[in-house]
Symmetry: C2
């Protein structure tokens, strides 16, 4: 067979050659913007010429601090197809973290949305490698800012030629990179090769994965700065699929309006967003019937959310699982053909799992001794994966890479069980699991059970060190306003007694005002562990 590199250029050229009339739509600053793949292609060529003008060379990193829109899509192709590396920047990072990832990635140019200019301004003094800022808006006018040197994206593109000869690129070249926030220390960078992104596109589109075709109209609500927006911009361009972008700062109401107006067939996002849109859809103000499904990942989709969507809107949520290190799609939850006759309860149980491995990857689930655990739906172990779109290391972090990528497998840090059909269920993060006397206790399970108590608003469970049992659970509970002072720890324990194994019962229940949260709204257990480090030490 021919030596023919798997590169993003093939995806880009195909869209232009076969689907020049198909559309890309953005909810832009000043209303709906729409253009065709033919227009898109010309602008990607203009962008490639612009990058050359700015002195960007093959292998240089180009940062983007941007929402989901067609300009970001242009960067998704213009940067890697000209040989440079797209570095998507998480606009929710703290200024220190943002400066760190730009400097560590050695970004040469930063493309920034006009309303995100303050973020760039906040870190500009700390940046050591950036030579240019390019501000993106829907006009050629350059907004006033303290960024320097700065230029307007639209002005640069309008001056550039729409003819560019995309170079032949080795498929093992880095096309893009993204940093993942670490539990300790600085964010860690993940590099994506052209090969990995192309193969990931094939897999994501398969009927048994996300089932994407040219006839779809797809909206990634998942940010383009996060794990390639689950690869959707690449898949859709490959197939000539209509792309609909929600643009800057979309609210749940905006999402519903965009889905209605542009007849979106498939939208992708984290559970939180679909909790918000459910309320909007329930008002009946927006039509959702163009949707065939929602894709949901990033964190576990509660069973209740699956049920609410099915009961109230007749809309299935497709559960998927991945992480920055995996491009990201690893698991997708579609029932097998012979499972179609399951009753509604079993279907919901299945939908609550993260799914089965997509074609092309390999997985195993191992216990602390490195032995594989049986696929019995109960035995827990860490999920290990390997394959062509799984990272092999963290960027310029040989020491931190060793444990995560030991023996040629990515150690996901996720504790799962696998049922006999191969469906994985994420039980806990490895670091949050409580290891008590050789048994594993899922902090998530315990939290969910506590949160079902009528007096409880929120609960987070962490491990306390213990002399005999190694670790024991400590429950941090926030009571609802009207129960504060009246509900006791004993009541909580009593409530749990029939619902969890005896050894799961927390040794301590601490009532607190609020559970600390991370920048993305997850429980900050690192912070909780620090707060209770002394208490635990005394107890132990």
């Amino acid at each position: 067979m021919m030596k023919f590199d798997l590169t993003l250029r093939v995806l880009l050229e195909r869209a232009n050659q076969l689907f020049p009339k198909k559309e890309i739509i953005t909810r832009d600053y000043s209303g709906t913007f729409r253009y065709t793949y033919a227009d898109f292609y010309k602008r990607v060529n203009r962008l490639a010429n612009t990058l050359k003008e700015l002195g960007v060379k093959p292998g240089d990193r180009v940062g983007t601090l941007a929402w989901n829109h067609h300009r970001h899509l242009e960067l998704y192709f213009g940067v890697p197809c000209s040989g440079a590396v797209l570095h998507t920047l998480n606009l929710r990072l703290s200024p220190d973290q943002l400066a760190y990832v730009i400097n560590h990635g050695e970004d040469k140019v930063i493309f920034v949305d006009k309303d995100l200019v303050p973020l760039a301004e906040a870190v500009k003094e700390k940046l050591t490698t950036v030579k240019h800022f390019v501000v993106m808006s829907d006009t050629e006018e350059l907004p006033a800012s303290h960024l320097s040197p700065a230029a307007s994206y639209e002005a640069l593109l309008s001056k550039a030629s729409d003819q560019y000869d995309f170079p032949d690129i080795d498929e093992w070249s880095t096309a893009a990179m993204c940093y993942t926030t670490a539990t300790t220390g600085n964010p860690k960078g993940v590099e994506y090769t052209h090969r990995g992104l192309v193969l990931h596109s094939y897999t994501a589109a398969l009927p048994d994965a996300l089932n994407i075709s040219e006839s779809d109209r797809i909206m990634p609500f998942v940010p383009m700065f996060h794990a390639n927006a689950w690869g959707l911009p690449f898949v859709c361009t490959f197939l000539g699929t209509t792309q609909v972008f929600p643009g800057p700062r979309p609210t749940p109401e905006d999402i519903c309006a965009v889905i209605d107006e542009h007849k979106v067939t498939l939208a992708a996002g984290v559970p939180t967003i679909w909790m918000g849109t459910l309320n909007v859809w329930e008002t009946g103000r927006y039509d959702h019937t163009s949707l065939r499904a929602l894709i949901c990942g990033g964190s576990a989709v509660p069973r209740a959310l699956h049920k609410a969507y099915l009961d109230k809107l007749g809309l299935p949520i497709i559960h998927a699982y991945g992480m920055t290190e995996t491009t990201p799609v690893v698991l997708v939850c579609n029932p097998k053909s012979y499972m179609q006759d399951m009753n509604e309860d079993d279907k919901l149980d299945l939908a609550s799992k993260q799914g089965i491995l997509v074609p092309g990857l390999e997985m195993k689930v191992v216990n602390e001794d490195g032995n594989e655990v049986p696929w019995d739906g109960r035995s827990m172990g860490e999920l290990l994966v390997r394959g062509p779109w799984i990272a092999k290391e963290y960027y310029k972090e040989p020491e931190r890479s060793k444990p995560a990528f030991a023996d040629g497998w990515l150690h996901t840090g996720d504790i799962v069980n696998v049922d006999p059909e191969g469906y994985c269920f994420i039980v806990d993060r490895a670091k949050d699991l409580i290891k008590s006397g050789g048994e594993w206790i899922s902090s998530i399970d315990l939290e969910n059970t506590i949160m079902a108590h009528p007096a409880v608003l929120e609960a987070a469970v962490i491990a306390m060190p213990h002399d005999k049992w190694v670790e024991r659970p400590l429950a941090c509970v926030v009571l609802k306003e009207d129960h504060r002072g009246s509900t006791t720890a004993d009541e909580i324990i009593h409530f749990l007694t029939d619902q969890v194994p005896k050894i799961w019962l927390p040794d301590r229940v601490e009532f607190i005002e609020e559970i600390p949260k991370t920048s993305v709204g997850k429980f900050d257990k690192k912070e909780l562990r620090q707060i209770y480090a002394d208490v635990a030490a005394v107890e132990a």
Copy 2:
């Protein structure tokens, strides 16, 4: 991203790990045989151990002379996954050609179906590299034959261990090979790499290609000895799809019975077979409603066949195009989303085209000067393709490879036009095209027009050399019995006058008894050209 080779082992292991209960079904010698992917996997392991016992080493070629059945599927995986090369032998080759390809491929072992043993016996004296014959049937008994040394497939497998540790294989290793019959000279070998077969599997399964999922029940009628049975055995195993094999010497009646009994959803074959099954289905004896479509390629699907299937059975035929050199899928004809409103006539016109390029390949259409022709639905040129599952050369044929693979493109030898939407229509084989005074005349178009004359049974058009026009068309016409002696050449020319451009009108019409055919039933124009070489020379 990890260095993770794209090999058939990943497809095989996935079927066993995630779809052990799914079935593979064969219409076997003594009735229906069915087993699960778990059983299949064990037997592939046994086969790999058997190959080792027989002295097959990595890179050795293993020939198969076999129909479509589960044993052939075992060889599809057992041979390449153990590092050897699967060489599928065309059981319709002449003995001389068969001996040539076995010797040229240097096959070490031949696996032969019991009813095909006479074919192997007919060539055995000429074979220079074969060390073993293995006879396949549904019992452990070895049928009497003159093959030596010979063993029974079932006996060998029953003795072998069902545990085998499949080796890591470089994705650029050859997994399989197949010879294509050449218009002149010996058959030419095409090698398929693991990488190419895996990528082809991804593409074939895509919603916009053949749209294959686990829930399908697929029957390849296209022979497994021909271009990987269009890749279906690999795709289906990858996805855990139910596979249904028609077994030895299936008639159209057998095909219809198997589709009915096993509720096949998608079947693939050449137009001839679907012409035959149409008559059977019209009797109403077999149910076809499990089918969602037929896939048809190998030669052009007549518009009338599309229409007959739609009108009589409500069943669409999906036109596809490829060749031995292309693994084979290159074009598939699915209408784009915005074409759904076409009227029935336009839909049939579209269905009669070979389709658009599948994701991952690149194409261009060039005239004799090597310049690309416009995509206007009229301009003709040769189709050139390149990509990860396109051959780069003919096996051990450097001289013959040069013109076919010049400049990194496969020159398909097919003359096509491309409409503005990118749909290709095959006008003629390059060698059959008549080049008259700078204009190209499609021999196929002219033949089809002549064959519409009520007195004509068959017609083949070839080029005669001509001093002024370089070439001019000569029509060889077979009249129906009751028109012989009464219909004249002038009548044929008159019939054509309003239907084709004036320069297309044949210079000669020769009435003949029968049109010579090749081993696969196509018009043998090479033979016709020899017959008329002198006539033409005199005329010119």
